[in-house]
């Protein structure tokens, strides 16, 4: 059984290595970010499989921390410049769809 978990973990490692091709080729920075997301999900799965293969239950906690940190990478990517939107953003050419300002948390 532990051999099966090991083989599955190695297979997932292979998919990560293939995903690195996307990091190299890009072309956009969003594509490179995708690979980081792939590492997050697949890394969690590999850790879970390894925790059974090596009978090391602490690796499940490592996977939990990975899961918690996965979203931080994406937030860091999205907020990396902190620049306002460029004025030629496609949606800005459309007419505004609702009159008056919408408050983001108005749910009354």
């Amino acid at each position: 059984m532990s051999l099966f978990y090991m083989a599955a973990a190695l297979f997932l490692l292979g998919t990560i290595l293939l995903g690195l091709v996307r990091v190299l080729r890009g072309p956009g920075s969003g594509d490179r970010m995708l690979a980081a997301q792939l590492f997050g999900t697949t890394g969690v799965t590999i850790l879970l499989l390894l925790s059974l293969a090596l009978e090391e239950s602490a690796l499940v906690d490592v996977a939990l921390v990975f899961a918690l940190l996965a979203v931080v990478a994406a937030v860091a990517f999205v907020r990396q410049h902190g620049l306002p939107e460029p004025p030629d953003t496609p949606i800005h050419r459309q007419p505004p769809d609702t009159p008056g300002p919408e408050r983001p948390h108005d749910d009354r």
Binding site: I91, D97, E102, R103, D106, D107
Partner: protein, 187 residues
């Protein structure tokens, strides 16, 4: 939007808040206990550190300013959960089939969808679940106009979105429903 201009109403609301505050402290303690049990196991629950953490969590929920209550309707939650599990599995199946097909059968496009959900938790949940439905990805929200990316422009995406919106609508108490029950019917 409750201001001091309606004193009786505000007073009643304040008393209700005091009761719900104690209930929230209890709920926080229960959640902290559950989380500690999940993370550290049942043997660790009797350690002094665990008890300290649980008590501190309850006290913190008493001291910190109250957040907005989550207007959940528990009866509708199993239905929403089942719908979510089924459609997110179908979403994975759909995209896996397209990715492994040698002909790569995708016709990507953008579309816009106007949702009637209230801002806050319902709309956030809607945006998150849309990205897991078959063939849809939420790109941008402006007011209530949602821009989506779809993998197959010929698929009946709009019907799936309307179904999801109705499910989420049922799972939350919508304050607008009480005011205009005949006006708020989904299109």
């Amino acid at each position: 939007m409750a201001r001091a201009s309606v004193p009786s109403n505000a007073g009643r609301r304040f008393a209700g808040r005091g009761r719900s505050r104690a209930r929230r402290a209890l709920a926080t303690a229960a959640a902290a206990t559950l989380l500690w049990w999940i993370l550290a196991g049942s043997a660790a629950l009797l350690e002094p550190l665990a008890l300290l953490a649980i008590v501190l969590a309850a006290v913190a929920s008493l001291l910190l300013p109250a957040g907005r209550p989550l207007p959940l309707r528990p009866v509708a939650l199993p239905g929403l959960l089942g719908f979510f599990l089924r459609s997110s599995f179908l979403g994975g199946l759909d995209v896996a089939r397209r990715a492994l097909d040698p002909h790569l059968p995708i016709r990507p496009d953008f579309l816009t969808y106007r949702t009637e959900l209230a801002h806050g938790p319902p709309l956030t949940l809607f945006m998150a679940v849309v990205s897991l439905l078959p063939g849809t990805l939420s790109v941008r929200l402006e007011g209530r106009l949602l821009t989506l990316h779809v993998l197959d422009r010929d698929a009946d995406t709009r019907a799936a979105l309307i179904a999801l919106e109705q499910r989420i609508r049922k799972a939350f108490h919508d304050p607008r429903d009480r005011q205009a029950s005949d006006d708020g019917a989904a299109p």
